[in-house]
């Protein structure tokens, strides 16, 4: 049964594409409201598939997928989805892109302007409001996408390796801004990455996806860093190094199960 604090729940899931075998089987997963959950695993293990299930873009072969206690039928408009792909509309300015979900949801003009202004300021994009996406740097585009994914206050924010294309410094800056922004907004996040350091820095809980095929959730880690964490200093602590080692072992274990079934 879905708990009061659970926003997304998967039970005994099996999923595959076309006539091919399942890529995930026997997956059980829940996310509590306000939690920052990361799915960590090697490429091609089915992490993005879980996000697509939550977004209602895929249907399972077996099992239950529930959002806020209700089965997901069709596209899930209660989530925000930040994919690896740049999905800013290239013919609209930054502020038009950020306000797009609100306009499509028939929010009043004044409210749209006010919320867009707030997010532009929050993500330091005020100076770029009237620029087109093609005129932005990679980091600015990611920030604009983050603003657009959050502005309509979705109950769950799905993020699929959103910073993979950024350089290390920019990625670190984005981690700080993301964690700060979602925690301030009380946002629930399901984040996908194959980067151990990234997972250790920003998550409340990490699930290792792998094994197989068909794969599944092979390990779970609740991170000990607390809600308020200083990402600039955290990564240089012994505790952080220990967590990284644990996650690394979990990931290696997931890889070693590849081909043996899970």
């Amino acid at each position: 049964m879905t708990g009061q604090g659970t926003i997304f729940e998967v039970r005994d899931l099996a999923i595959g594409f076309g006539e091919r075998d399942d890529i995930l089987r026997g997956v059980d997963l829940t996310i509590a409201r306000g939690e920052f959950l990361t799915l960590l695993g090697p490429s091609g293990c089915g992490k993005t598939t879980i996000l697509n299930l939550a977004a209602g873009l895929l249907r399972p072969r077996a099992g239950h997928v529930r959002f806020a206690g209700e089965p997901i039928n069709g596209v899930n408009r209660n989530v925000g989805y930040m994919t690896q792909d740049d999905t800013l509309l290239p013919w609209q300015t930054v502020q038009a892109n950020i306000g797009l979900p609100l306009r499509m949801r028939k929010v009043g003009k004044a409210e749209v302007a006010s919320r867009v202004g707030r997010y532009l300021e929050m993500l330091d994009l005020g100076h770029a409001a009237n620029l087109l996406p093609g005129q932005l740097s990679g980091g600015m585009r990611r920030r604009a996408l983050l603003a657009r994914s959050m502005i309509y206050e979705p109950k769950l924010l799905l993020m699929d390796e959103p910073f993979a294309a950024l350089d290390a410094q920019m990625r670190h800056q984005m981690h700080i801004e993301l964690r700060d922004t979602v925690k301030r907004a009380g946002q629930t996040v399901m984040f996908v990455t194959h980067d151990i350091t990234e997972a250790a820095k920003i998550s409340d809980r990490v699930l290792i996806v792998g094994g197989g095929p068909p794969g599944g959730i092979v390990a779970e880690y609740r991170l000990p860093f607390g809600e308020e964490r200083d990402l600039d200093t955290l990564r240089f602590t012994d505790e952080f190094a220990r967590v990284e080692q644990q996650l690394n072992r979990g990931l290696l274990d997931a890889r070693s199960r590849k081909g043996n079934g899970s």
Binding site: A55, G56, R77, V79, L89, L100, P101, M104, Q135, L136
Partner: protein, 277 residues
Amino acid sequence: MTDTLVESRPIEQRRVALRRTARRHRVTVLGVQVLVIAAVLVAWELLSGRVVQELLVSRPSDVFPTLWGWVTDGTLLQNAAVTFRTAGIGLLCGGVLGILVGVVLGQAKTLAEIFEPMITALYTMPKHALIPLFIMWVGIGSALGVVTAAVIVFFLVFFNTFFGIREVRPSLVNSVRIMGGSEIDVMLRVRLPSALIWVVAALKLAVPQAVVGVVVAEMLAGDSGLGYLVARNAGLFNSAGTFAALIVLLIAGFLIDRLMSWVTRKPLEWKNSNSAM
């Protein structure tokens, strides 16, 4: 080692210098173009009647007075108006139909599977070869030009709209749906703007092609228009008149091309806005 950096030329000065260089380049190009045209006209004038029979090529000193005569007695304006009005109506009919059919087939996979090969087969037929058939259907006059231009424009616009709609990235469509967009939102905010670049590219080709279609129709079975002027003068072995009409078409084609580039610049601004930072 010094601790002060050598100050490079201030940005504003560099900008001024760059603008000056660009202006100088434009003036040079324009100057060479004027010289080439002048050289062609001089060579034409000198060679005509000496190397090539004047009956075949006329000469600028006959062609331009003929042209000026048409300007002053209203012949040029009257015939040009017929040609461009006909081409405009044909462009509108063929363009609207091409966009509509392109949007419908671009969205409906099964319909596209049925009709796209048929439309492709029709496209491969030389459109000007259909003019005799159109004469049987609509007779001679401006209706013939409209039908010819519309058919030519339809295929160009249809294929570009069709592929423009189909080539839209699924991730863009999915993101708009997840953000709360309806199917109408997907069409108006993603598919059509995304296809716009293709449609505009098609229109850049379609506008001059529409004029060509009308001119050919007028030459074959017209009673007015620039094509008719060419055909009538050629039929009378009036090479000065023939060349005058051809020069009008040349200038008109050039102006149309420039006009289309100017008109399509704004809607495609985003396409040229690649990383400036």
